[in-house]
């Protein structure tokens, strides 16, 4: 609608290509050939059979715990795998069937709590995992069906709000379910309330007690590969094709006599079962289930994984999980965060700025501006340079003589943060030379805000701010995600 006349689809890569057949669009790109190193990698990836693609991921994943510490296996390995498993289930609902399910995390929480009720010191039952896991998965699937029933008549956005409310209701419920008086049974402490359900048994699979982090890692890896293969085959089947038809155009799918309601319910059930399974593992790993673990933050994280990788793409999920879990984990430690920040800024500048004299100009200009401001401030208002960098080590020391670090930064940094957001937004409106010129103070301002404000909160707010910004930027730059295929509209 807003297109100027004469703007051909080739000018706007993020627009759907009109009038091109889907098959033509997918083959056209391949025939043109990819260029450079990334192109060669892309071609190798395209020719790889599915089993080979799985090995590309599974072999490094299996080697990973053998070469690093227990803590790293947990933070980078196990949590990433659990998130990836969760994302697999969400991908069925959002990526394959195109239903916007915002209550998805409730199923994850349900799995953890259900397993905790079946096997923990809290409830007094101690079911072995070979019985508990199928029961949890079935119960999760049943809950998915239950939520799906009132939802199947709803259009996309209504579904979103009902499921979002459901997720919220779940958190309220587990937070208070220790105080419910059931009819006939009387008072039962089901979930431990706000303190959570503790003392959950480790998984006990046919006598194999899974206890150490490494064992859990390998168990989860196995589970992930299994679920991934299962979902791959489901997606290639008749049902998978029907889901994709439903995603592209529900009305057309219905006219083609596809059982739309049943397909929606099936997608819900698959998603819920996968999430409940992931929840079981999570509960066993944590030896507890806590209401705070299942709130909107996790939901957005999992959505970020699915969307970043490209909804509908299984390979994208693995990459998405590694990026979305790995980067915030790297940010947790201020020293690492320092490096991550500067490397990220450098990478973005190097990737986006062409030709190279312009890049060199921006880098030199930023460095020069920093030293100039620092020298002026040092002479005139020494209080502006008295502070310390939040990080430690060589990089932080280098930074201290370049960035303004006020001795009491809170207020000025808060204002700078707001100005920085304005500057970044304004940057997107500027053109050509002006953008390059404006880039210099903006980068310096970003560094200033980072050193004075963001780095203190790397374990909390900062990671989520970056995650939220990442989602917005990614949607604007590449709505189909990293591995997704661009939409083709046939007219």
């Amino acid at each position: 609608m807003a297109d100027e006349p004469g703007a051909s689809p080739m000018d706007a890569p993020d627009q759907p290509r009109i009038g091109v057949d889907e098959w033509v669009a997918s083959v056209e790109g391949k025939r043109e050939g990819y260029e450079g190193l990334t192109g060669r990698l892309q071609r190798m990836w395209d020719t790889l059979p599915v089993g080979g693609r799985l090995l590309v991921f599974a072999v490094p994943a299996a080697i990973f715990p053998l070469v690093t510490t227990e803590g790293n296996v947990f933070r980078y390995g196990l949590i990433t795998l659990i998130y990836a498993l969760l994302a697999l289930g969400l991908n069925v609902v959002v990526g394959f069937a195109g239903l916007l399910d915002l209550g998805y995390i409730a199923f994850f929480g349900f799995g953890a709590y259900m397993y905790g009720i079946l096997a923990s010191g809290h409830s007094g039952h101690h079911w072995p995992a070979e019985f508990a896991i199928p029961v949890v998965i079935l119960a999760g699937a049943a809950l998915g069906l239950l939520l799906g029933l009132p939802s199947r008549r709803l259009l996309g956005d209504y579904l979103a709000i009902v499921t979002l409310f459901f997720g919220q209701a779940f958190v309220v419920f587990v937070n208070n379910a220790n105080r419910i008086n059931f009819p006939f049974v009387g008072h039962v402490d089901l979930t431990g309330g706000a303190n959570g359900l503790d003392n959950i048994d480790p998984l006990d699979l046919f006598g194999w007690k899974v206890t150490s982090t490494r064992e859990y890692y390998f168990f989860t890896l196995g589970a992930f590969v299994l679920v991934m293969m299962l979902l791959y085959f489901v997606n290639e089947s008749r049902t998978g094709r029907a889901w994709r038809a439903l995603r592209e155009d529900p009305l057309a799918a219905e006219v083609m006599s596809m059982p739309v309601n049943r397909l929606k319910l099936l997608a819900f059930v698959f998603g819920a079962a996968t999430a409940a399974f992931a929840g079981t593992i999570y509960g066993a790993v944590q030896t507890g289930a806590f209401p705070g673990d299942f709130d909107v933050g996790l939901l957005i994280t999992i959505y970020a994984i699915v969307i970043l990788g490209g909804a509908g793409s299984l390979a994208g999920i693995v990459v998405g999980a590694i990026v979305v879990n790995g980067v915030p984990e790297l940010l947790r430690d201020p020293n690492q965060a320092e490096w991550v920040f500067y490397v990220a800024v450098a990478v973005v500048l190097f990737a986006r700025l062409r030709p190279w004299p312009r890049l060199a100009g921006v880098v030199a200009g930023t460095i020069g501006l920093g030293f100039a401001l620092h020298a002026i401030a040092d002479a005139a208002w020494p209080r502006l340079t008295d502070g310390k960098s939040g990080g430690e080590g060589a990089l932080a020391h280098a930074v201290e003589s370049w960035v303004l670090l006020p001795s009491r930064p809170t207020q000025i940094a808060n204002f700078a943060f707001v100005i920085l957001i304005g500057a970044l937004l304004a940057l997107t409106l500027l053109k050509d030379v002006w953008r390059t010129v404006a880039l210099v103070p903006t980068v310096y301002l970003a560094v200033f805000v980072w050193e004075n404000l963001l780095i203190q909160q790397t374990a909390g707010a900062t990671r989520f701010i970056l995650l939220g910004a990442l989602l917005v930027v990614l949607m604007n730059a590449r709505p189909q995600g990293l591995f997704g295929t661009a939409r083709v509209e046939i007219v």
Binding site: F165, A461, M475
Partner: protein, 308 residues
């Protein structure tokens, strides 16, 4: 029956309902015109509450205001509405406009990202602690009563000013040029742009009006309930949207009715239903499910006719 309790619950329900109705109006207007579920709307409300708070601090704080109380409150409302409105326009310009022709899910995810960004930015800038408006110090603890019905000054203020805003909005949409353009755009965007309506401007003004109402709602909440915090927008936004859906999304009287219903339901649930104060949100959720099952397009909504 305890009529005193009943009237107390009714008054607090209507107060809460006015706040929800103002939020629901913004949701409903944006949805009507863009078919976009603006998840960041609740956080605009939160920012509006904070802008009102800082306006109060700027005017000397609740204990020593630099002008008469009614001037301070008016200025707070103006600040909250302007702040919310401008934030809404900026969000639309940078997070939604580039995605207007993208698949439906893209702007939704973008909206989730904006919501998350605003919440955590507020956490970073304002801290995790509650901020107190100090209404008693500013306005006093005076109450009006009619028979059994007791009303505090902020409650009267909230109900009256939200009614006034709704009247203004209704007149604006029904009688003015920009209102006509809005209705045309929401009816058929493409046709409206062919008739020479600047659709981008109309959408931006819709966002401004809707977000200004949310900002006003934020200030009202602060005045009535005293405390504001960075996460308050999430649940309020959820309830505002629930109200919009219950009333019939896209319909302005529907949003008002829905807001009132949700507020009353929540208030009565707290007073009358078993363990209502803990599970009030679940009862509102149940109401939503019930109404959607009976009337999928809301109480005052028109059923969607799809032409192929």
């Amino acid at each position: 029956m305890n009529w005193g309790l009943f009237w107390d619950l009714t008054v607090s329900g209507v107060t809460l309902g006015s706040v929800y109705a103002l939020i629901a109006l913004g949701y409903s207007m944006v949805y009507g015109i863009l078919k976009l579920l603006n998840f960041a709307h609740g956080d605009v409300y939160m920012i509006g509450a904070f802008v009102g708070y800082f306006a109060l601090q700027g005017l000397g704080g609740a204990l020593h205001p630099s002008a008469a109380a009614w001037i301070v409150v008016t200025l707070m409302f103006i600040a909250g509405m302007l702040g919310g409105g401008m934030l809404g326009v900026v969000i639309e310009r940078f997070a939604y406009r580039p995605l207007r022709n993208a698949p439906r899910i893209a702007p939704l995810i973008s909206a989730l990202g904006v919501s998350f960004f605003l919440q955590n930015s507020a956490l970073l800038l304002f801290g995790a602690s509650f901020r107190d408006y100090g209404t008693f110090d500013l306005i006093g603890a005076k109450t009006y009563h009619f028979g059994n019905v007791y009303l505090s000054v902020p409650q009267v203020l909230t109900i009256v000013s939200s009614l006034a805003l709704m009247v203004v909005l209704t007149v604006l949409v029904a009688r003015t040029r920009i209102g006509k353009a809005m209705r045309a755009t929401s009816f058929d965007r493409e046709a409206a742009s062919m008739m020479g309506i600047d659709v981008d401007r109309v959408i931006a003004s819709t966002f401004f009006i809707g977000s200004a109402l949310a900002g006003a709602a934020g200030v009202m909440f602060g005045l009535v309930f005293g405390q504001i915090y960075h996460f308050m927008g999430f649940l309020a936004g959820l309830k505002g949207f629930t109200a919009a859906v219950i009333g019939g999304i896209g319909s302005i009287p529907g949003a008002m009715l829905g807001g009132l219903l949700v507020g009353l339901a929540e208030s009565y649930a707290t007073g009358y239903l078993p363990q209502g104060s803990t599970f009030q949100n679940l009862y509102v959720f149940a109401l939503l499910i019930l109404i959607i099952l009976i009337r999928p397009s809301g109480i005052l909504g028109k059923a969607d006719v799809k032409k192929v």
